[in-house]
Symmetry: C2
Subunit: 336 residues, 2 copies
């Protein structure tokens, strides 16, 4: 809703003594404008406090200059997750470079999903970034069919070959973690895995199993958690009961690892001497006791890369999306 007396381009043009066409060109920094005209227009803009009407501009250009960030499952857990905040700030930062606006779409699956899809179809935004923090619903498929440029933060669990995405190589990262435990001489290595319906959960488990397989060790000791501290504690306790000779533990997230450390302490095992522990994410890992050796999961980087993928598609819609897969980094601290 404009304020009552919002100045239009017409008034700017009149004040500057040029036509509306020239005023428009000057405002948009087109080259085909004389210095004299440009200066006059700029002065008029300043004196009138002119701001272009975005709706009119969008109608004429078919660009909205805004990008949606779609969060499929906006429960409280998503928001309290530090990943989310870092993702949002990173996306926002990159979009700001191009003066693009971030529109947040909280899409609770079900009734809300329709609304979201309608919004995306409706031409409100030029593109979408999907934070597929959890399982990616059917969003990847739907968006693909929509013809709307989009990019995923984190590899979508289905349709990954048809949309752009950025992720860290979770398989390689998990492999790194487990191989560190092997190097230390661990021979009975357990894994507290994430949910099986999330790409990160699957990949980290796969990397872990591959490393054990290569070493010819038993791949049995695996328990699943749901990325909460409590679930990590419980899963670790189950592992200790089933495999009392456990001497190494790879946990699929630092938060769960924190729970696992508590379970180990409760069981009287010392870390890393009795059981060496490696986490994942590098999220508060240095505040654990003992400080956690872990694999870095750079949320901000990922979000930035995904956003740049989207920008590239906006620049050239025909370009084939090339996924970004960042190599993992291991941070050694005291726990392994």
């Amino acid at each position: 809703m404009d304020a009552p007396g919002t100045p239009t381009l017409d008034e700017v043009a009149r004040l500057a003594g040029v036509s509306r066409a020239t005023a428009s060109r000057a405002v948009n920094g087109s080259s085909r404008v004389s210095d004299r005209a440009r200066d006059a227009v700029e002065a008029a803009v300043r004196s009138l406090g002119y701001v272009a009407n975005p709706a009119a501009r969008t109608l004429a250009t078919r660009r909205t200059d805004s990008v949606a960030v779609v969060v499929p499952e906006p429960d409280d857990r998503v928001f309290s997750d530090p990943f989310f905040g870092r993702t949002l700030t990173a996306v926002n930062r990159v979009l700001a470079e191009r003066d693009l606006q971030l529109v947040l779409l909280l899409a609770r699956p079900g009734e809300e999903e329709d609304r979201t899809l309608r919004y995306l179809r409706g031409g409100h935004v030029d593109g979408a970034i999907v934070v597929s923090h959890h399982r990616s619903d059917h969003l990847a498929e739907h968006l693909g069919g929509l013809g709307l440029p989009c990019a995923f933060v984190g590899r979508p669990i289905v349709g990954a070959d048809r949309v752009a995405w950025a992720d860290t190589d979770n398989v390689a990262g998990a492999r790194l973690a487990t191989e560190l435990l092997l190097e230390r001489g661990c021979r009975r290595i357990g894994h507290v895995a994430g949910p099986g319906d999330m790409a990160v959960g699957q990949d980290r488990l796969a990397g872990h199993l591959a490393a054990l397989d290569d070493a010819g060790l038993d791949t049995e000791p695996v328990e699943h958690g749901d990325f909460t501290e409590a679930s990590g504690e419980a899963a670790c306790a189950r592992l200790l009961t089933a495999y009392p000779d456990l001497d190494g533990l790879f946990v699929a997230s630092d938060l769960m690892a924190r729970g696992a450390l508590r379970a180990l302490a409760a069981a009287g095992r010392s870390v890393p001497d009795d059981v060496a522990v490696v986490g994942y994410d590098d999220l508060g890992a240095d505040h654990c006791t003992p400080p956690l050796t872990t694999v870095v999961n750079p949320a901000g980087d990922l979000a930035e890369r995904a956003t740049r993928l989207l920008l590239a598609r906006l620049d050239d819609p025909a370009a084939v999306p090339e996924p970004v897969l960042l190599p993992p980094t291991l941070v050694r601290r005291a726990s392994a």
Copy 2:
């Protein structure tokens, strides 16, 4: 950006055998349309998959059907704060009732602030909700001058008399907390206060002091923290040193209270027998040891109320904004 073959209202009208005017009325649910025409239009809409072009609609109606949520200080801390997530989901829920879209504006003070103000001035949104989680910058003043309907979640520290806002009565809440300690028989009551430049910090301190004043007790024992756990621990430790006879403690947030509990444990004081403790927020208070008696700070409610205030202003821009001040609730647990 529309997909290439996006159907327009013209095509719908043609297919339905009516004029564009009638089609528009039918689509917008106007009353002055015959059943026959309405059915025909609806059928055409369905068969064409018509979605109204929002830019054209905005241009014609001067409504954008979207509302900005302005977050003045989007550092990681804000996002990891559970308040933020609850606020956002509550706002989104209420907006969804009216089919309004949420546009998130992350406004790092400084360079970004201009951009934000320009955006708000530019007619991109019908109104704004400001999450004045921290000190409220100059936003209240600027927005007031802009003529853009807005509402604040949490009383703005300046300009509170000129904009709509919703908050809990932090003064009364703090009073409730301290009076509980008085009832228990505490006679040397300390306070770990929040930052002095935030309304919540000021108000909770004021309520506390008023209660002590009424009881004729010493109001001296006050230390400030910054709402982090560590600052609460340090502030409590300082209080214990300065006032070894402390027997009651009101802490301005549960997170700081958690730190205070740790300081008390370290000092060998038992809670609540040696020192009774009351927190504020009811945020993870039941997971402390001992479970924390605290004052509820209903973030979701607040956000909902603020959003409804904004909706009311959108309906009737002339209406005088009446602030909402929710009464506080005390939750008794084991710590006091």
